[in-house]
Structures are given as structure tokens and as C-alpha cells.
Symmetry: C2
Subunit: 435 residues, 2 copies
């Protein structure tokens, strides 16, 4: 019988934990036989000593099997999901899921809530009146069979080890640890019942990973786990210095996603969405390479099939599909405040973090876990890099319900924009891929 302190000591001294040690730990975390303080000491030892690829794969597998693991034998379409590490204005999932399903994939997508300055897919979906993200396993299976998509939150029985360990990491300064992040993400994705996975690893000012290097290490870690677990995984490294698209906020992003499905999406958002969805098609065996997959996806988009798929998804999960034709069925803010430019020029940069913080001031994110979100508020009509703007023309519009945070939001939104005399080179959105 392996004692917790022996497991801790091995990692403390820089050794490698074998599968037995890691499974013993995770079993003990869930059944309570290993105390929180022992897990905390081990997490800090892992933070400072690291984990090998083999250890990270064992950890992922042990966490994944700590609760219910969904299998979907009744589904014949290739089951492929996408996961993003989170950004500002990242409404990709809302476009990608119906688009991929309309192209023939099954997309079992278990998502999260907003975390820190980034929005969460579940929160955005809940802006749609009636939309239910709390699906039990049978509703999850039914949605996948009927629409090819399920957009759901975690149930209590889903990867309980991750819930326990994440709460502990949050209060013991052991969050920012690449192997632990990899195992946390991958254990949840692999328990969904997928065959393959595409990852959007974001980096830059508005992302959790601030540098391309860190993003690459995270992506490599997750791709290695996917390989070890025989679930082909393809990661794109995408830029998150500026907000993605023109809107940040829950209703506002749902509207932008619907507009995108109608063929009117902003270039940066569509570039990232198509690149990710194309790789899902390749992994699912529906296209030989990303380029031909992208051609096919543009056809699906132009045909209106992806928009109709989104309508079906909304209806299946109890939401009001009428929002697609009438945006006023979504929660809307009482007041729109334009942020006029004080100079003329070209937008050369937009600080995603300041835009996100402006949204937080308006009530678009939680400050604490127990806080409610105002789905209506946010920042919209964000001028894109390269666009010309005259004195007095709006740089963006704040959608406001509560005036309390308005002054700070205005200052943040204004200071987010940098103008120059010449249009800048368009910085690339995709800076690397790992598969």
C-alpha cells in the first residue's frame, strides 16, 4: 500500500510518479482517503518539479475515470470537439458547433462558465431565453442524436477529481502549472465521448498564456496526452492580443455569432473559426486536408445549413429559436453609450484586456463565483485594426444597464484603442499548429 507521503516525497525529490502512484492519489482525492493538505503539498511539488509526458497522461486518465465517462456507440458520425483556452470576445464555439454538425460531424461539447476576464460558452448560450445547458446524460445523448450537437455543462458525476483539485489549486497558488492545466482540460474533454479533438490555444494580452512559448508548451502537452490516449488532437496557436470580432458580452456575442452564420462575420473571427472547424473535419475523416475542408465549410455556410443547424440546436435545448430572426428577443441593454474618438487615424491596436475590463465594469462577468451576470451588457461595434476613424466617430459602443461602473468602463474602453497615421500590417491570427 502506497502512502500519500511516499507519493509526495517521490515528486518532491524530482522523481517520476508511476501509474499506480497517480491512480492511488486521484482515487484518494475522490474517496477522501487522501487529505486536502496532502494533495496541496503534492500539487506544489508538481508545480515546482514538473511532470513528464507519461505522468501527465496517467494523471489525465486517472482524473477522467474519477467519474462518469460517456461513450456514444449509437452515434455513427465522427465525434469531434473543439476546446479553447479562453479569450476576449471568443464566440467561436457558437459558430463552429452548428457549422461542423451541418458538415457531418457529431460535436459533443461540454463547456465551462466564464473564468476571470474571459467569457464562457455556457453563459453566452444562457443569454438565449429558455436555453438549458444542464443536460443529464440521456438529454445529452438525445441532443447529439437529433442535431449532432450537445452544448452542455458538467454534471456532478463528471470528472469529480478535477472539481476538487481545481478548487484546491485556486487557493494554494498552484493554478498556473502546464501539466496540471493539460490534465484538467484533457480529462474533461476525453470523458465527453470524443474520437478526436481540436484545441484553440490562445496567447497574448487577453489570454491566460501571455507568450507564444507558454502557449506552445501547453499545446504540446495536450497533443501528447491525446496521442497517449489514442484521441488524435490538433492544436492551433491563435493570437489573443485584441478582442476576437466586434463584440464582447453575452447577448452581443450571440448576435455576432448569428450574423457570422448568416455570412456577415468579421474577418478575424471567421479566419479562426474556419481554421478550427476545418481541422475538425480532417480529424473526423470528412476532408483530406484543412484547405479542402475550408472550401466545403464555406459552401455549408453559404447554403444556410449552418444557420438552420443552430436554430435546431437552440430548439432542442429548450431555447427560443426566434432570436435568430429577431435579436430583440435577447436581453438588450437600456442604453448605448458611444465612445467617440478624440483623434483621426487608423486603428493600430486594441487592448483586449481593457475591453474585457470595461465589460466587467458594466456587469458582463462575475467578480465572484456567486455573482449573477448581466447578459445584456458589454462592448459592441468595436472598430477593427486597420479601420480609419475620424474625430468624433465611435471607437466602440458600450451597452449599459447599471450606471455605477460606467465612468470606469468609458475610460477603459477609450484607452483600449491606439491610433496611428497609417494603416498597420494586419497581424496574423494563427501563429502555429501542433498535431
Amino acid at each position: 500500500m502506497l502512502l500519500p507521503q511516499d507519493i509526495i516525497r517521490t515528486k518532491r525529490d524530482g522523481g517520476e510518479l508511476d501509474a499506480e502512484a497517480i491512480h492511488t492519489w486521484i482515487r484518494g482525492v475522490v474517496d477522501g482517503s487522501i487529505a486536502d493538505y496532502q494533495s496541496a503539498a503534492l500539487l506544489m511539488a508538481i508545480y515546482l518539479r514538473g511532470m513528464t509526458a507519461a505522468e501527465t497522461a496517467h494523471l489525465t486518465e486517472a482524473m477522467m475515470h474519477s467519474g462518469e465517462v460517456i461513450s456514444l456507440p449509437e452515434i455513427t458520425a465522427p465525434r469531434v470537439d473543439k476546446h479553447s483556452t479562453g479569450g476576449v470576445g471568443d464566440k467561436v464555439s457558437l459558430i463552429l458547433a452548428p457549422l461542423a454538425a451541418a458538415a457531418g460531424l457529431c460535436v459533443p461539447m461540454i463547456s465551462g462558465r466564464g473564468l476571470g476576464h474571459t467569457g464562457g460558452t455556457l453563459d453566452k448560450l444562457e443569454a438565449i431565453p429558455g436555453f438549458r445547458v444542464a443536460l443529464d446524460t440521456s438529454a445529452y445523448r438525445r441532443a447529439l442524436q437529433r442535431t449532432g450537437v450537445a452544448l452542455a455543462g458538467q454534471t456532478e458525476r463528471f470528472v469529480p477529481a478535477d472539481r476538487i483539485l481545481y478548487a484546491l489549486r485556486d487557493i494554494t497558488a498552484t493554478v498556473e502549472c502546464i501539466p496540471l492545466i493539460c490534465a484538467s482540460i484533457m480529462s474533461k474533454k476525453l470523458a465527453e465521448g470524443i474520437d478526436a479533438l481540436v484545441l484553440d490555444v490562445k496567447f497574448g494580452r487577453g489570454a491566460f498564456m501571455k507568450t507564444l512559448d507558454d502557449a506552445r508548451r501547453l499545446a504540446e502537452g495536450m497533443v501528447a496526452i491525446g496521442r497517449a490516449m489514442r484521441r488524435p488532437t490538433w492544436a492551433l496557436l491563435t493570437a489573443m492580443d485584441r478582442p476576437l470580432g466586434r463584440a464582447v458580452g453575452h447577448s452581443l456575442e450571440v448576435i455576432e455569432a448569428i450574423e457570422s452564420l448568416k455570412g456577415r462575420g468579421p474577418d478575424d473571427l471567421m479566419e479562426v473559426t474556419l481554421a478550427l472547424t476545418a481541422r475538425m473535419l480532417v480529424l473526423g475523416g470528412l476532408a483530406p486536408d484543412p484547405e479542402s475542408a475550408a472550401v466545403r465549410l464555406r459552401e455549408v455556410l453559404a447554403s444556410g445549413a449552418a444557420l438552420e443547424k443552430f436554430r435546431a440546436i437552440i430548439a432542442e435545448q429548450g431555447g427560443d429559436p426566434g432570436v435568430i430572426d429577431d435579436y430583440d428577443r435577447l436581453p438588450r441593454a437600456r442604453r448605448i453609450v458611444e465612445i467617440p474618438s478624440t483623434e483621426s487615424g487608423y486603428v493600430v491596436d486594441i487592448d483586449a484586456m481593457r475591453i474585457a475590463r470595461a465589460g466587467i465594469c458594466l456587469g458582463a462577468a462575475r467578480r465572484r463565483v456567486e455573482d449573477a451576470i448581466d447578459h445584456a451588457v458589454g462592448v459592441a461595434a468595436i472598430r477593427q485594426v486597420g479601420e480609419a476613424v475620424d474625430v468624433g466617430e465611435p471607437l466602440c459602443c458600450l451597452h449599459v444597464n447599471d450606471e455605477a461602473g460606467l465612468e470606469e468602463a468609458v475610460a477603459l474602453a477609450r484607452s483600449a484603442f491606439s491610433l496611428g497615421e497609417r494603416p498597420p500590417d494586419q497581424p496574423p491570427m494563427i501563429l502555429g499548429e501542433i498535431s
Copy 2:
């Protein structure tokens, strides 16, 4: 307000904790506002990142002030204690305390129980019928005023932070960490009410520190804390490869200590005891240097004053002083088993660890905290390095009550001795000092 996770993060990233951070932590440990799992993460970060001398001094001070700090203004004699990091057959305190007091010092000595393979002073004293080590503060003061010595265990109110953290370190693999060991020892010693401190830092097979290097780092750490806290501290590095003296076991060591006070102590034991006591006299201002202090101590010993002092100490703490003249008043084993030599030659080495383990087999130490100790049993008449022995002559004698562990004890005791054809050089007992 400093959050626990901020304190953890600073140490995790290799930063230095300031006095406020360390005092916040220790206050939180005692009042429960900082959770065990947060302390566990911080302890592991300290284990792997280390602590500066300043941090270790802050930690010592915070721990010392986590409970009652004794001050002894009513005592005019210099108050000097000695602490040993623990060894096999280490009955130095039982000789040193009466000897130092007979020479004019006050010795406030709060000691511990046996830990692992090493015996504890409190356990040895309790072999004396009636001897009480549980002194409240007023009994402690009274003993010091009447005899110049108090030999006591910790009360509940004494350095509670150390009790909590030690229990946590024990089960999170964070025990063997020099700054934490330094702070744990020094916080307890400095809370006793001392002016100065002598340290016996043992190293070798039978000690917790296996190498001279580790012992030196530990000694330097503690001497630096003493300096920072204005309590002059002098450390000797002493050898603990072989048992100290000829006896290991509680009654057996009390007898050897009394024999030593009668002037019949073995050379190695007396060398270490006189060297430590001499430095106590120097620190207390009663002698200009260790050499003249040692001359004075030999006189005190020869006069019988130290033996009479021990008689007074035993009486003051409720024990039967008659043990000094009649060893049969101590618990004695039912049976003595000689370990005959199977060859002729000179003793060239004795493995302290095997002797200690033989004693454990006979019941002379706890295997678990809740175990009782058999004070009567142990290993005595241990042949010393350099002594000649013929085939069939005893290498040592086992004092046995319970036959269950006898076979293993015999094998361990026999294999502890190495014989050679020539008498070896006497290895030095004292290998360094730091002050």
C-alpha cells in the same frame, strides 16, 4: 490584507517572505484562518525553494510568540540550555544539567520524547519512579529557583504553531528541511527563557543528519537565528556513528548517567558532555574559555557536587532520589542475554543504528506515538571501539522482558560490531564548532 495564496505564490516563485507575511501565516496557523492545505502548499514551496537567514529568523520569532514565552527575571544566575539533535545512547542532558547547575548556571530545559530510533530525555527521566516532567509554569519556575534546573515537557500553551506545523510536515513529506528544522528547534528553545544556548548537532549513521555537511548547515542556521534573536548560540558538531557510551535504553542510560556523575563515565560520553557544558559556562560568563571551564567542571564532578545536584533535581520533580544509591529501584529487565563474540580481535566499529534497532525490538522505543515504552529493556555493557575481545566474551548484553523481539534483537546486536586484528585509531568525537 495579505491573502494566504499571495504568501504561497511569493515563496513558490522563489521570492523572500517579509516579517509581515510570515507573522500573518503563523497567526493564521494558530487561529485557524489559514487552512492546513494552504500551509501544506507553503511548506512544500519552502522545502523546495529554501528560506533566507532573515526569513528563518522571522519564522522562529513568529512561532516562538505563537504561545507562552517564559521570562525568568527572578533568576539571577545566567540561564543557559543545551539542545541535541538526537542520537543513540545520548544521555548527555542527564549529566550536563546537574553539572552545569552545580557550576553556577541556571538550566531551563524543555525537552522532547523519543523520536524514531533516538531516545528522548523525558522518557529517560520517567524511568525514575515518581519523576514528573509535566511541570506547569509555576512548578517550572520553582524548580529553577530551588535547584537551578528544570527538566520539563512542553505544555499545550508552549509554541502551539510548532505542534500544528510539525504534525502537518510529518504527513506531507516536508520534515527534512533545514530552515524548518532550525525554526522548530529554536522557537522552542528561545521560548524557555534562556540567555544563551549550546547545540549538539549530531551527524552520522545514528543521527538524523547523515553527513557533516548537512550538520554544518543545520548548525549554521540555528546559530544565525540565535544571533538574530540576540541569544548567543554555540554549536558543536559531534559524531554519531557509534552509540554514545556503553548503554542504550531508559533505566540503563539513567544508571550510566549516575555512574558518570560518580566519575566513572565512559570516555566518549564524558568528552562530549564536558565539551558542551564547558561552552555553556563560557556563554554564561562563568569561564573565559572552554579549556578553563573544563578544568572547573572536572573539579565540580570530583567534588560530588554534580551528583548531589542530580539528587536534588530528582527530589524536586517528585522522583525517588534513592535510585542514585540503589539502581534496583529503577525498572529492571527480567533477563540479561549476553551476545558472545564469535571471533577474537579488537572492536573497530559499532553501528549505532543496529544497536538502536535492537533496542526497538526489545520494546525500548515507540513504533507509534500511542505505544508504551518499556523503560527496563535495552542494550548495555557495549564494548567500546579499541577494546579487545576474545571468542565467547560478550560484545554487549541485551536486557529483555518480552521474548517476542529477542531473536531479531540478537541478530542486530551481533551484526552491529565489526572486529579487526589491530586496535583502530580512535575517531574524534567533535568535528567542528560554530559560534
